[in-house]
Amino acid sequence: MVLNYSQPLEISNLTSWLDSTLRGNLSEFWALLIEFVLVAVVLLTAYAVIALILIYAERKITAFFQARYGPNRVGKWGLLQSVADMVKILLKEIVRINRSDRFLFFAAPFFMIIASMLTFGAIAFGKGLHAIDFNIGVLYVTAVSSLGIIGVLLAGWSSNNKYSMIGAMRSGAQFVSYELSAGFALMTIVVLAGTMQFSTMIEGQRYCWNIFNGHISSIIAFVIYLISGHAETNRGPFDLPEAESELTAGYHTEYSGLQFGFYYLAEYLNMFIIASIATTVFLGGYMPIQVHGWDGFNQIMAYIPTYVWFFGKTAVLIFLSLWVRWSFPRLRIDQLLNLEWKYLLPINLVNLLLMVILVLTGFTLTGLFPGLF
């Protein structure tokens, strides 16, 4: 009701205008074709641009955590540093490895990047900025993101290098384990929201985000999702697949140039994807902060475009991920598997049961205070 108030800054105004003009002047086939191509181009561009911004932000924040300045020579405050890095990586030679499996070696980075792009397409960036909205959105995301690990395993094997191989095996074990926890954490919220579709899930969180709605259970699920998402992206304290001191660079040791760039890009984008899925599922996605009954406040909040809300919440989670990354030392492989199988998974199962009980007995916030939320 409140969100229908005119929002001049919303991009969906532009997209709906474009849609109506295309449909007015062309047949439906051509209009759809042009729209598909446009959406694809915009998504690919956003993919690259977000990765560049993330790389810059990561380097800056990392530097601040270590009492340094970070990149500050290329452009004002080093803003062009990641652009310069991108140009460098595009110009680098792609090295062919002796006695490697050519076909698999060149195919592996594509698995990684395609998996991350397919997941990227399912993110709701704002109201009306949603490329794929299946009724099984959550399941789709977990399914598609699991393809990336095949790229890692194939890369490790086809490089004909034992370090790559060990890195790939570690990454595989880690990914398969933590995928389970991430899935269970998302499932907990699916129980709460009663839907797997991202758009209805976001609409349902208008007045009460899922993280507050399910209180104890939601917060546990949120923390578990962040931990396992962090582990899935091979970052932070969970970066043993790329442990420099033992494995040089893990599964992408033998890659150079653009192929390495694919892995690099996919790693950063996976961080963004994990953060944005967490935003969508737990923190109300692109919904502004709305309080029941405070109409003036709600209108002011709704005046801020939805994509700003989305990127703001995502940025907070990305910062959290960086904070964790630079706080903790790297785990050993047995500690890593202990954490997953002895702590996260049992807690997760109990938590799922707890959430079912909360929902059935009506002990959620919306169930307890129906007028307020």
Partner: protein, 167 residues
């Protein structure tokens, strides 16, 4: 029109990579080609509008089974070596088995193809419907098979632990 084109592309991918998966000399390549087949099958489900089946196909087959396949292949002895061509007797036996399988599947498809029109009356099944029919006890609901399968899986897990324990 567009659906037809996509269908033919997917069908071609399935056919070509199925043959490649069988004829490939390296077992890891074979697994990769099989992965493409499974992905293209998922694409077919998506084309038909079965979103749930599409996601399950990718999560279970591409993301789960294939990862385990590749893992298992990587752990075997020399996965990169070319497989030797088998003895003629074995080849004949393998060919006969394949033909028998083809005949069996062909028979089922042939006798059911007329009934497909009746079966796909329902467009897309929502996850809610699916969950209710999985865990319901009424007619056309499948709680008993579901639980049987979970007991089977439990037995598998216990067996795996027994094998993995070195005592």
């Amino acid at each position: 029109m567009a659906q037809q084109i996509i269908f033919f592309v997917l069908a071609a991918i399935i056919a070509i990579f199925s043959i490649l998966a069988v004829t490939a000399k390296q077992i890891i390549r074979s697994a990769t080609y099989l992965l493409f087949v499974l992905l293209a099958t998922a694409g077919l489900y998506l084309l038909l509008g079965y979103n749930y089946l599409f996601a399950v196909q990718i999560a279970v087959y591409a993301g789960g089974v294939m990862v385990l396949f590749i893992f298992a292949i990587l752990l075997t002895n020399r996965p990169g070596e070319n497989v030797k061509t088998e003895l003629p007797v074995r080849r004949v036996a393998a060919g006969l088995t394949a033909l028998a399988g083809l005949a069996f599947c062909g028979h089922i498809i042939y006798w059911n193809i007329k009934r497909v029109g009746d079966l796909v009356a329902q467009s897309d099944i929502t996850p809610q419907q699916l969950g209710h029919s999985m865990l319901g006890t009424d007619k056309y609901q499948y709680l008993l098979p579901f639980e049987t399968i979970s007991i089977l899986l439990l037995a598998c897990i216990v067996g795996a632990i027994m094998i993995a324990r070195k005592r």
